[in-house]
Symmetry: C3
Subunit: 166 residues, 3 copies
């Protein structure tokens, strides 16, 4: 059990590094480094539009060239949760605060989640499936990211009178 | 010492997961899952007003129904610090970036801290006490969260002339 | 190898705590605690202007008195990456979301990175070198922090027509 735990901690560290690397490579726009974080046959789904879906790391790298349209970005990862399926596969959920700036100085921020399946291959842990969901965004963000759905209130719920919102 | 460390790492991981679970369950508005993260007799203090204080996980679950008034939220945890009192109890401090959106599209963001006492019970680690503090917020946030107090400058401090703020 | 891993995990935890302590001590404006996180002969570079560079923890503590000009701040750390040079030295990169508020209620937010060299001394891990870089900021932030440079697009890249940005 001690052996198992230590192994699991190494894996958790490597998977966390993988998810952080994605953010850093994207902000740097190091697209070869970024696509190398995914399996060759990865499936990536940022949203329902065709241009937000990619199959294979090569197609993903090509698709993410769209991020050049931002002059600057900053992707901050948090809330990482990792559940191991077996020793070579895990399901991960994480949150991202993603800020984007256009050449004209306007910006767009998204509060999102990454729901991933990661697998261990010859080159270490890689993202095999990524689905992005959006908790929310500011008025500047217009891309149609998959919407995160929360549980709806019970039918008899009455909004309280707090901060003038009811 | 090696045995102790490994045990402590497992505990740190479980406590970190507990704090992250709170954020995720709140954004999902999964209130039963959320209240199960607290001890039955927990004491929770978000601010001085009565409606921001709860005793017991049942009362907390009822109280947090107020969060239905937001159409969407996103709670991003960071800066987690854990100090063990003994092997079954720890004091934790963490930061949260919490974004909230109303049905009318207006939003409110708070930059806060959670100061927690967590204990190990039959069901694993749970939050026994939580006090929330606010470092700051934007103009849209109106709830009276406990204010985090910083150390005040010495009496003879003179503000420097930087970025036109003095 | 097991022995090495456990040691490395303890070090990773201590280094992570060090980086988080910086954020917490800065928001609390506990300057003696903050300067104690650095080596006596540290080199700190927030930007090209003289007042943004410090040599030695004593000079740094004095220099950071400028942060009193903010009424409130909130520094949220994420994306921590640690690469060990040897068992007593490591290179770290991390991201920070840093919110600042002036006495007049206006605020300024920066999305930045810390690139650090940390060393193990008699008092544990300390920051020996810190260079701050800026991914971006809002219109309220005016300080000349070192700019993070991303890779530029290939000469033949054509901006796609997404969200009205082209």
């Amino acid at each position: 059990m001690q052996e198992r735990s230590l192994r699991e901690f190494v894996d958790r560290q490597e998977i966390n590094d993988l998810l952080v690397d994605y953010c850093c490579a994207l902000d740097r726009m190091d697209l070869p480094r970024l696509s190398a974080l995914f399996t060759d046959d990865c499936v990536v789904d940022y949203g329902p539009n065709d241009f937000l879906q990619s199959r294979g790391s090569e197609a993903l790298e090509k698709s993410l060239e769209r991020m050049w349209r931002w002059s600057r970005t900053s992707h901050h990862l948090s809330n990482v949760q990792i559940d191991f399926c077996d020793e070579n596969e895990a399901l991960c959920r994480s949150y991202v605060y993603a800020w984007h700036e256009r050449e004209d100085g306007t910006n767009a921020t998204i509060l999102g989640q990454y729901h991933d399946r990661v697998v261990r291959g010859d080159r270490g842990w890689r993202i095999a499936e990524r689905r992005m969901l959006m908790n929310g965004c500011d008025a500047g963000f217009k891309v149609n990211i998959n919407r995160f759905e929360k549980i709806t209130p019970p039918a008899d719920w009455i909004a309280p009178n707090i901060d003038g919102t009811t």
